[in-house]
Point group: C2
């Protein structure tokens, strides 16, 4: 889907509709983003076809394979991929993440998701996904194991003493011996501790379970909000929960998504947004809305508000935060289904901004200074074209105000975010 | 372990003992091998620490992460990694393999292993590995699913019709809907069909189960034999089984391993082999022998033959072909345990050659022309140094006889091996 975050981006004249499987497209994106000194590239993902494929590219390269390839064409930018804790094994995934961190020189990040879709479950032997709480309980145990595996080699475990023939000190290679509700894992990992200690841990769900999980584990949070108020509420909430979990509030950075439609005037920006909107196929948007809200597309009427059956039922077992966001937005703004589709077309619920570079700058600064964001996840509606517009016209204004780096000061993703290497749990502090 | 295939390679003066996690080491190896026009790089692997680490590097980067990185520093050489069918999910692994095939331009190969070790089982929630036949039954079902997933996008499924907004033809994206003894997988895959159709399928076990599996699925076989006679027997056997499985015998290439110690004279070659042998730590070799034969190291006496308890018991549930090979070699050549360790130190049971470049050439030609090999897996005892010796001194003689390519004639791994892209099972032939 990476002709851009807008669902119809692939239809633009300048777009490469086969971008997903064209490595040269991705190398260009990574090069543009690194030249602009962004913290990281972030790939959303799930282990199933996205929709039917009829109206939008439904697949993409497995994210860590893609990011590993891109790591060899870049030297500084962080590389964050979404991988499911529900449909992977901790030993395998911890090993892959450690390996990506090694070959990238400490630039790997993992966006932990629990996989809300029944379509995903059906690729892994299940008739339906595990329920929401069970998925997060598994994720919590998964992270506990992964951290232990990443710590299982102390930094000085390898002696490499050619003279004596002693390679490593077995006392500094630690079994994990985890036995829990979901997993039993012996360890140690067969990969040295990653350069970052632990690859950066990212989280993106905003349900109650998701926020509690984030408070315990996340170092960066990608989050979707339609308004400053909602974003600020979330920000306060997550920092409070993080402190309650015994961690410093600064040990997690909160990064709302923003989908920027930038024009040199407001009128131009509106024209640009309309150009994208006109390319939408409503049938696609309806199928996605139906997927998110777990109903059949036939319940919707484009000219009517969301039906009562959606407004009056208990919480879903799927993607709670996204369905809650859609309903909240629809009710607050009295939107018809057709208007909802238009709003979701740009960024699936992320904050859509339409305006001039100066207005964009004012908006992100107001969120940042107003306690709603530590930074942003810039989701350009078309890639690379609209990312290049953002880099060329918005970043210089932020740089002029000292709010965006002129160059990288660190080499690792943790350093870009100002986050420390975690201590090794198996290492006695002296 | 990739300072070399000899277990003590890391102790050589020229070796980088931290080679496993040093990407520059691997880039150099890949560059040397590609400049020499080898078919492929092959990485052995397993999801557990290899031994205690005390006397030999016990870990390595996850192989597909490493090969993906190397794919960006090479353009022709094939990239084959070992991955377990016992401790992975078909959807995830099929997707990763397809993705590596995409980013490498059709150079990915998968060496399917079933994971013989109890230490591996303990990293995946099991008290012991599943038994030998059950592992192969799972592998067979796994391959059936993976092939269907790779075929799930027809080559012309993507329309990318910007004008109409139709991206793909859903009738050319196929559900798999597999329901079997071990797996239930819906599909389709969320990755386009790989450039090779299916990544190249490799197999390396020589047990009865392993050979029957290879006859059904393998396109290349890595195999270990101590003598020409054993290799020729295996070659005839596997080609016969392949034909019996309804496949052309040429649709699988048989590639025995060879560990070459090359000197400009026999005496120099013997000195070189002795230099490696002198660096062995017997304690390490004993622990590996004990692991392979599934006994405690204390049952061995370095100066005595293998104890009767090993010679007189039924087949193991672990690595049958390797334990059978060791016992066969020990009995045939009346070896003491100490002598066995020396023989296994170079290549864990693979054929060890000690001699001049001319003798090496004569040997590989006699195996090739005598119906024991379609090619070889060159396992240099030290890397890259002994690979460079092989490239510089042995390959030119083979080239002079027209038995080694001057340059690549194809772009994909299948083309290097002379193997066709498999037809798509979902495509009606016209």
């Amino acid at each position: 889907m990476e002709a851009g975050h807008h669902e119809a981006a692939w239809r633009l004249p300048e777009s490469n509709p086969r971008a997903d499987f064209d490595l040269s497209h991705w190398i260009r994106l990574a090069t543009v983003a690194e030249a602009a000194k962004f913290d990281s590239l972030f790939l959303a993902d799930g282990p199933a076809l996205t929709g039917s494929g009829e109206f939008r590219p439904p697949g993409q390269l497995e994210p860590f394979t893609l990011l590993t390839a891109l790591s060899q064409h870049t030297s500084r930018i962080g590389l964050i991929a979404t991988v499911s804790s529900t449909y992977n094994e901790p030993y395998n995934l911890a090993r892959r993440l450690a390996s990506v961190d090694h070959v990238s020189g400490g630039r790997a990040g993992w966006n932990v998701v629990t996989s809300a879709g029944a379509d995903e479950a059906a690729n892994f032997g299940l008739d339906d996904r595990p329920d929401h709480a069970a998925r997060y309980a598994r994720a919590d145990e998964f992270l506990t194991i992964a951290k232990a595996l990443w710590d299982s080699w102390e930094h000085d475990a390898v002696l490499a003493d050619k003279e004596s023939g002693r390679y490593a000190d077995p006392n500094r290679l630690h079994a994990v011996d985890h036995v829990g509700d979901h997993f039993k894992v012996a360890g140690p990992l067969n990969v040295e501790r990653p350069p970052q200690g632990h690859p950066l841990l990212v989280q993106a769900g905003s349900s109650e379970d998701g926020k509690n999980f984030a408070a315990r584990h996340a170092e960066a949070i990608f989050t979707a909000h339609q308004t400053y108020e909602r974003a600020a509420d979330f920000y306060r909430d997550i920092k409070t929960r993080t402190a309650a979990a015994g961690r410093h509030p600064d040990s997690v950075v909160v990064l709302p998504g923003i989908v920027p439609f930038i024009g040199s005037t407001e009128a131009e920006a509106n024209d640009l947004a309309r150009q994208f909107d006109d390319l939408r196929v409503p049938e696609y948007g309806l199928s996605q809305l139906a997927w998110n809200l777990e109903v059949e597309p036939s319940v919707f009427d484009l000219n009517a508000p969301l039906p009562d059956l959606i407004l009056q039922r208990p919480k879903l077992q799927g993607s709670q935060s996204r369905s809650d966001l859609i309903i909240d937005m629809a009710v607050r703004e009295h939107l018809t289904v057709g208007e909802i589709l238009s709003r979701l077309g740009g960024g699936r619920g992320h904050f859509t901004f339409v305006g001039t570079p100066e207005q964009a700058t004012d908006t992100v600064i107001s969120w940042f200074e107003g306690g709603a964001a530590d930074g942003f996840n810039v989701m350009a509606p078309a890639l690379p074209s609209q990312l290049e517009v953002f880099v060329e016209h918005v970043l210089p204004i932020l740089r002029g105000k000292g709010l965006f780096r002129e160059d990288y000061s660190g080499a690792t993703l943790r350093e870009h975010y100002g986050l420390a290497v975690p201590p090794n749990q198996f290492r006695a502090t002296s």
